[in-house]
Amino acid sequence: MGRNHRFPWASVLAIMVLAMAASQCTPSAPQRSTGGGAVQSDVAVAAQKTYVPPGDLDQYYMFSSGGHSGQVYVYGVPSMRHLSTIPVFTPYPATGYGFDDDSKKMLGDLDWGDAHHPALSETKGDYDGRWLFINEMNGRIARIDLRDFKTKQILGPVPNLHGNHGSSFVTPNTEYAMMATRFSRPVPQRPVSIDRYATDYKGIVAGVKIDPQSGEMSLGWEILMPPFDYDIGDAGKLASDGWMFFTSYNTERATGKLEVTASQRDRDYIAAVDWRAAEKAIAAGQGEMIGGVRVLDPAKVPGLVFLLPCGKSPHGVDVSPDGNWIIGSGKLQGVTTAFNFEKVQTAIRNKDFTGEEDGIPVLKYESIKDAEVPVGLGPLHTQFGPDGFAYTSLFLDSAIAKWKLGTWEVVDKVPMSYNIGHLAAAEGDTVSPDGNFLVGLNKLSHGRHLSVGPSQPESSQLVDISEEKMKLLYDAFTEPEPHYAQIIKADKIKTIEVYPKEENTHPLAVWDVNDAGVTRNGNRVTVKMVAVRSSFAPTSFEVNRGDVVTIAVTNIEQTTDELHGLGLLDYNINIVVDPGETKTVTFTADKPGVFAFYCTNFCSALHQEMQGYMIAK
């Protein structure tokens, strides 16, 4: 049976062999010397360079923006250990940030912010270790005091400006931090049809004045700009001190699908802003009050703003340590452009213009550029070493290019895994870069770590730049989203570890358990509470339903790391009080019953006994 209908074994076998052969012919991953290949490092060298033995300290702090997590993350370099999280624009239960009255008030209605560009305060163009500024997209900027690593002020949302991406770059003596519009909109804010984008929508550049003693920020002035998307900035220094540079894209003034409509021109602009001229114009009473702020129109204040053509859709702009060159990187190009500040000044003097945008002169590209450096595809940001070398991140090539200022020669490349955005060299954006280390802040990690499912961490890669050839040392996996980071020598930061008792001027502070207790004024109840190992005083208190209750907890410890927390169950109350600090939390006792409160921050052998009750009648 079936002998005349035999199964075609031979044909099947032949097809299988062919298929296997074909599968061998499919391209495998290319062995490229640069670019997106997964990279390994020389283990012995990398281990020695990055290993910080237990108990030893790192050489540098790295302050990394937490992007849309709204926080700032602090890492030690070279170990790349995560040391601390500084909550800024988002509540952070771990430190009680956004739960106590003061931080809640500081956050205001917005308890989310997309943090982008940390800026360490500077003196004479060098980091001075006093404050860290960081912007977020909702038109706000925050100041962190590096004495206690706490957010002290959030300014904004400022009027007129929308989408504060081009921020918070400080000037060389921290006279100003900057803000710039990413999403132009009508100024003053009002509903206007998108059809009138090119004429009725406006960008804003704002100078945030910083008090040299206290660091207190206030809005200094605003400048009305054409409706481009302002992206990144950097302050001029030394030779170019007094100027501020911002990249811009969508100089097409297009709307709709910007990835196409805003990518039509071969060159967009770097806006050069003479911020001292802005200061003078404001002092002279120029400008118009819009939305409660004095706004300067560059068309009416000649010399205030000039536009430097820069190809194509530039993202990063970085001023060389001596201030002589302005490095602009068109992200859709294969070159980065070095503009000569001297030539920019000459072109301004000679009115070497090729046109204007809303009354702002456009300088002639050929007259101001020194070089187009063939760094590679998708150049974004540039940092500097101490020896005249520059390091440019290449998003598309997924690499860092090392090149020489002046000779414009590309000398080395190191692959990044993967798709590097910003990069941070040790003090690499100051007048005296440190060299030694550089961190690539990569957008994608593509599973170079134990799998944690689809929501993958970002990757920050440590690179040794102390020698001629760059060497990859370490992969760290950082919280989203490290837009930019700055690396400062550890000894520049002087911290306190307890709040000295004599500095506590809080009106509700109590330092003696005998002074603790409950006072009532109508339906307002104030509980002055002492926290000290291992008890609260009072250990219980009574309120009436509907009372507005303020609990003020003073941690009377003066010992390092003796934090106490107060969690009040079912009332969503969680504050953490550092040694010597007083914090208050105010709420309405709208739920009757008995509710436990307890110490949340492990403090002592009898921490578990540190508890009490609120009785709401």
Partner: protein, 214 residues
């Protein structure tokens, strides 16, 4: 015979070297105001730098800007130990004045320049030193034994170390005299030295003519 020779010795004047030693002793007494008499330092894994307690004749002083005393008290409250405060040391009320008075008496002896007055003050000083040491030891005993009965952590009553090292729970406790006490010892040595020198000088003077006559 014996009594009368002693009396004669007591009535003898002391020479300028003996007086100089007395003045130096007063100088050292002044020093005791500026340096701690005793120090206790406690180390534990969580206190790598140690908690330091300096005891002066008139006050307690904690290391780390005074914070160490607060910390010691916070820790001690768990075992029910009394709080270490200046108020609980009556000694601090009188000790500086006694030291001052003794200083004046030493000066007086230097001026009177008799063996009797310098022997008086030397004896007083020795009594004072012995009493102070006993008082300090008694205080330590009280602190280690007078523990609150409702303490969270019950420990066997103990004697904190007065001189040397002792392990108490997770703490290594070191207790040693400091510059103030060494100065006190120096004072006593100078007082005794002054007396000894006078005794030796008088003996030599008493025997010298005899030798010459012999």
């Amino acid at each position: 015979m014996q009594g009368s020779s002693t009396r004669r010795f007591l009535d003898q004047p002391i020479d300028r070297w003996a007086r100089l030693m007395l003045v130096a002793a007063v100088g050292l007494l002044v020093v005791t105001y500026f340096f701690p008499l005793w120090n206790m330092t406690m180390f534990a894994p969580q206190y790598r730098d140690g908690l330091r307690l300096d005891i002066y004749s008139y006050t307690l002083a904690g290391g780390n800007g005074g914070q160490d005393i607060t910390e010691i008290n916070v820790l001690n409250h768990y075992i029910g130990m009394h709080e270490l405060t200046n108020a609980s040391f009556a000694e601090f009320q009188w000790m500086p004045f006694v030291v001052g008075t003794l200083g004046l008496l030493v000066l007086r002896a230097a001026v009177h320049a008799t063996v009797a007055s310098s022997l008086d003050v030397t004896m007083l000083f020795v009594y004072f030193g012995a009493f102070s040491l006993w008082s300090f030891g008694y205080k330590l005993y009280q602190y280690g034994h007078n523990l609150a009965p409702d303490a969270a952590v019950k420990v066997q009553p103990f004697m904190p170390p007065m001189f040397g090292y002792r392990q108490i729970a997770n703490f290594e406790v070191y207790s040693y005299p400091r510059a103030g006490t060494y100065a006190m010892v120096g004072v006593i040595l100078l007082l005794l030295g002054s007396l000894g020198w006078t005794w030796w000088r008088l003996r030599r003077e008493a025997t010298a003519p005899a030798v010459a006559a012999g």
